[in-house]
Symmetry: C2
Subunit: 763 residues, 2 copies
């Protein structure tokens, strides 16, 4: 069991690919800061490194010229910044510098300890001149003290006595990664951060850096704790502070060095420099073991609440744990941040926040750490005004259109047909408000923030849609599937709009019961007839349906297109988006990802089971899963439809995506939505969890290969543990009031202790 919380790789990875992959996989993050797992001592210059450190929500603005200027097209965007480099430490033994790229590495192990919340790099090395040493690098970004990044270097010289010197640097003007040969990342170096000369306070170095255009600033502070007998000296060179730590080694004696990095930014505090200095000094007074202890305690609570175990599938169990951990590392912990598509592990998608948050991450957090879910929604509430402005730019007289991709709430999508046109993001955010409320019953949050989101997004739909033969149509939008753009009546979008409108109406009742309705409707100038409009549009929402196939077509014209010629598409032409012009894709029946199938998951009661089944089978035949957001949803729906082994296969693909780099771009960062989806594939997939207005639902099934699986979650204050094996399902109430569960459709009250149920036969 323990091993599965400890992800380890052996071998002296000197390949370029492995180094970049390792930087991602072994990154440290806590939702506020993220540090890629580059080697402290660096690589030789011929190696590429994406040596990045990031702060969630901290950005600069950059131009994004359009090839042809059209009114309203976005011409500047936010980009997440690579901030100061504080992780570098060279180690010198006499005249020899430690490096894995020369000498002899007898042992190299990298791991991440998911319970302790640290990464480790353990090395046994012999220098070219024969000095034998053991080295360990332990790194931690604290979940308890978010601005803290701690590095511990443990050095044992086995046959060398003499000078040991650590050159630890602190550089204030790191640059974002660029690669002129890869069109998916920046092509040219751009300096976004301008640093003041480092400022030294004793042996603390502080660097204040300002962004070029966003008006933000950031202070990074670095300090060290060193073994007795070692001396510290700090030198400032240009924009760099260099800490030189020197002393002598004794054979067999272990030397332990600590490097503390602390970050404060102007988004969250008034005086970043003062704050950094004060907090850095304070944290250095605290015993290191206490810092480690806090971290372990935090994680112990996390695993306690979201524990998930698969018996009989060690590799995937381990992968799921890693994914759960990476998700916690990625997700923002305050309303100034959110969860980037790549978390804080790399520069892919420029640190932008997408719908991934609402439709993938939130369903995980609402049932394990609902306060995180609430914070994520708060970010959307905080940026509601920008969403309203965005709607005006798109010609809507009222309502809020959330940006497809953003850091500060403003749209950053340069290609609107598969960006801004994806209006469903507003529906997704509204859905997440309802989902959070249903899981938590947090009516206070609904009154304070959620309802306003529901009402402004509902306004968007009535402004943009129109009635055709009495049915409400939504024209020219892009659904989740980015291989089909700018279509009419995308099923997913229309269904979500319907749900959004229904909830706008519902929240009126809920707020009236709390006495909060009048104030809110006054605040946003909501007219009584608007609620009528919402109701009418929801009731008459047009949802595509094809009688002959008994499926919901993805949009009005999807079934009229030719199917993609999969037979004559060579393997190397996937993902298709890198090999075919958008028009060639749009014109065919081919899906990048779950679209209607996703709608059938999140809102399963809006159509017959036969339609859901037929749709699943139909779309399965035309979906490439080129998006990392796809296989997890297909897994969930296969499980629902009784195709358990198929669900298992999809689940496996999803679980391995980053650890096995199956999409070949993990170097640019982890795929957070997939990680969340992977977790969902167990809870919502195999276990069939649903949280609806009518209550809690479970319909567990289990893949052949597994002996059992168990997980914990919470629902309206009650914490439950579910264990599923070949015999059936046990539900254990851990905490809170008794709760009713619809188990395979039949209501059962989970009272005091443990109950055991025979598993129903697969449908």
């Amino acid at each position: 069991m323990e091993k599965q919380f400890f992800y380890e790789i052996e071998g002296n990875a000197k390949s370029q690919e492995a180094l970049l992959l390792g930087e991602t996989i072994f990154h440290n993050a806590n939702g506020y800061i993220g540090i890629r797992g580059a080697y402290e001592e660096g690589y030789p210059p011929e190696y590429i490194s994406i040596r990045g450190q990031y702060i969630n929500g901290f950005y600069d603005i950059t131009d994004m010229k359009q090839a042809e200027a059209l009114c309203g097209l976005i011409e500047k965007k936010q980009t997440m910044l690579n901030i100061a480099d504080t992780q570098s430490v060279e180690i010198w033994l006499g005249g020899e510098q430690f490096s894995l790229f020369y000498g002899t590495a007898k042992e190299v192990k990298r791991s991440v300890d998911l319970k302790k919340g640290v990464t480790l790099r353990k090395i046994a090395w012999v220098s070219p001149e024969g000095k034998e040493i053991s080295l360990q690098f332990r790194r931690m970004t604290s979940f308890v003290k978010l601005p803290l990044f701690l590095q511990e270097i443990t050095l044992t010289c086995h046959n060398y006595e003499g000078e040991v010197c650590l050159i630890s640097s602190h550089f204030g003007e790191a640059e974002n990664f660029c690669d002129p040969s890869d069109p998916r990342v920046a092509g040219e170096k751009t300096q976004y951060l301008f640093a003041d000369t480092p400022h030294c306070q004793g042996d603390i170095s502080l660097i204040l850096a300002k962004t070029s255009r966003s008006g933000l600033s950031l202070c990074s502070g670095v300090a060290h704790a060193v073994p007795a007998g070692f001396e510290k000296q700090t030198v400032v060179k240009d924009k760099k502070a260099v800490h030189k730590i020197t002393g002598k080694s004794v054979k067999g004696k272990t030397l332990r060095f600590y490097k503390y990095s602390w970050f404060s930014d102007s988004i969250r505090c008034g005086n970043p420099e003062e704050e950094t200095e004060k907090k850095l000094k304070k944290v250095m007074m605290q015993p290191v073991e206490e810092l480690y202890g806090e971290q372990e305690e935090y994680l112990s609570d996390y695993w306690e609440k979201s524990n998930l175990e698969i018996e009989g599938d060690e590799e995937l169990n381990s992968a799921v744990h890693y994914n759960q951990y990476a998700l916690l590392q990625s997700v923002g912990k305050d309303c100034y941040s959110n969860m980037a598509a790549k978390g804080l592990s790399g520069e892919g998608y420029e640190g932008h926040f997408f719908w991934d948050t609402e439709m993938y991450a939130l369903p995980c957090f609402t049932i394990t750490r609902p306060e995180i879910a609430k914070t994520l929604i708060s970010f959307r509430y905080r940026t509601l005004n920008q969403a309203k402005e965005n709607a005006r730019k798109l010609g809507h007289k009222r309502g809020a259109l959330y940006p497809w991709r953003t850091i500060n709430g403003e749209e950053c999508s340069g290609y609107f047909p598969s960006g801004t046109a994806a209006y469903h993001i507003s529906g997704d955010i509204a859905y997440s408000v309802a989902a959070y409320y249903l899981a938590t019953n947090d009516v206070e949050f609904l009154c304070e923030q959620g309802a306003e989101i529901l009402l402004e997004t509902a306004r968007l739909w009535v402004d943009m849609g129109n009635y055709v033969d009495g049915q409400f149509h939504i024209q020219d939008v892009t659904g989740p599937d980015e291989y089909t753009c700018m279509v009419n009546n995308n099923y997913y979008t229309n269904l979500l709009a319907k749900y959004n409108l229904e909830w706008a109406e519902k929240c009126k009742e809920l707020l009236m019961a709390e006495g909060k309705w009048e104030a809110l409707s006054k605040k946003i100038n909501l007219l009584p007839e608007e609620i009528e409009e919402f109701k009418k549009a929801a009731e008459n929402m047009y949802l595509t349906y094809d009688e002959a196939l008994d499926i919901n077509p993805q949009d009005d014209s999807f079934l009229k297109k030719k199917k993609w010629d999969f037979t004559n598409t060579p393997k190397e032409n996937y993902p298709l988006l890198l090999h075919y012009h958008p028009l060639a894709l749009y014109r065919k029946q081919v899906c990048k990802q779950a679209d209607t199938v996703l709608a059938h998951f999140i809102l399963e009661d809006y159509q017959k089971l036969s339609t859901i089944r037929n749709s699943f089978l139909y779309y399965e035949g035309v979906t490439t899963h080129d998006s990392s957001l796809s296989t997890c949803i297909f897994s969930i729906m296969a499980a629902k439809l009784g195709m358990v082994e198929k669900a298992y296969d999809y689940f496996g693909e999803s679980a391995k995506l980053d650890l096995f780099n199956t999409h070949k771009n993990t170097k640019d960062g982890i795929h957070t939505a997939n990680m969340a989806g992977n977790y969902m594939a167990i809870i919502y997939g195999f276990a069939g969890l649903r949280i609806k207005e009518s209550g809690l639902y479970l319909s567990p099934c289990i893949p052949d290969r597994w002996k059992s699986y168990q997980f914990r979650f919470q629902y309206r204050g009650t914490r439950l543990e579910v264990k599923v094996d070949k015999e059936g399902c046990r539900i254990h109430r851990l905490e809170g009031k008794p709760v009713e569960i619809h188990l395979h459709g039949s209501p059962v009250l989970v009272e005091d202790d443990i109950r055991l149920y025979k598993r129903q036969e697969d449908k």
Copy 2:
């Protein structure tokens, strides 16, 4: 009558707007070179001038970065270059320099003489010190010697005797116009042309300049002829050759100076420098009066063949003549060039060739100067291979997709939804091949070039379309209307595709009769079953039709959209494209221009008259005419439908567009398609000319205001003159065999002399 061939403006125009407008209106061009009508002596530095000289088809390549990189999106484009500046001449009288911006201009007249083919600028000026002079600048770009630009400066000093000096310069590295504040033109200066040091041969200066990326070169040569007693001296400064011409004035005596500019480019000749020198020397041997004579003779033939007169509407008559002349100035005279959207009069649309050529210019030239029409089609034939490659890039296994905008045959459209997606351009080109053949019976050209175009474009349609319930559908294209993009079954596109496919089939028969079929089908590997495919697709082509309204909807979903809220759209928000996001436009029923209405004009026999009438009225209600290609078509169709006064109003709007700068962008160049459309509005509109397989059709009507109108055209070698007045219509055979005309539907043979018919009552 004469006055209408002489467009004149009086007054000393010193306003910025008037100067830029004058540069366009009084430009000189001959289809090969174009010189904007800047003042020889320049403007003060605070004035903006688009001081341009252009060569049709001569371009460089420039980057066009996409905001988001997607596979196949265009990232470099061609741009027409502002070549050497040869038009500058300063005039010094003793220490005083002539300029309209100081001293006293007693008279200033600018005109273009449409019969002589020259522009004139006549000035009576008194210098600050009181020198009274008369000046005339006469400029000509020769239609007979295309590389020649001739300037004649006539100077009379009335009260001054003393030194007269002309500083005539020749600068080899002109730059394209840029304006950082206007997103529609280049924002930054880019040096495209790199010139060698000027090379002087006696008093001839030659400058060879090379483009930065397209690998083209150009030689410009300048020489002068001066009055007896004047001396010439040439000095080279950097990239400039300065010709200083000095002598003495005698009171009342007229001095006459000639500046010759000659251009040769590497597209058309092997050694541009040698060619320029040789030809320039040769042309200087020819008496100037002979050069003027050739020009007048050329134009006399043009007016003889395309003469068009409106009696009773002097202003519009004059505008139509100007438009006819500008069209002749704009159109390319060899297969290396075509007709740019702005002709050779400015840098708008970067000198790109669009469908304007086929659907607007060609219908004028096929009936007046068919050899020009043939040359225009030859350009498309020459670039057929690029069109085939373009189709491959878009994922088509066969066929040719012509670029939406191009100079060298490669796509330059940076925004594909209203660029590359406008597949109708391939249909337009195919249509023009058929139209040229029908008007000329030139079966030889069909065999040599036309048929291959018809077959390769036909292949595109069968590759891209698919059958739905037995009908052939075409998905995800953009029709002529750019306010509605990426739709299914655009009526215009589908109808043109049908016609294209029918003609592909027809050309087989025609070529078989000539014994040319086998060779061609072998050359392009055409399989016999492909002809069957063409036939089947044409026969089963799906054409939208709405029974209730009895109209052809613009596409599958057009009628399902909300109508644009015209009532609440302020006047200053037109053109809409400058004030609304594309999505806001796409989602509504609003048209930039004629789309279905244009299809009803060019292929009127494919639907009932009632459908044509209802469609016209329907689309009239939702069309903004924000495109300059629209009012002319609405005029034609209003005339066809008996709404003669409405046709007259549309015609008037079209006629005045550039001369009255009604679209406010004539500074960037004339609107050639509109000028052609304006001519069409008379011949195809009021006179109802149609050329079909079944023969020649005329259904003349006349607006109330006009006393009469008459025009000349040719049809299969027969030249005819038609005169329409309130009484009826006279047709006069000028040349060629007798021909049958369907006059108001009834066949009549136009034999020897003149026949007179009573006009039918309006339908």
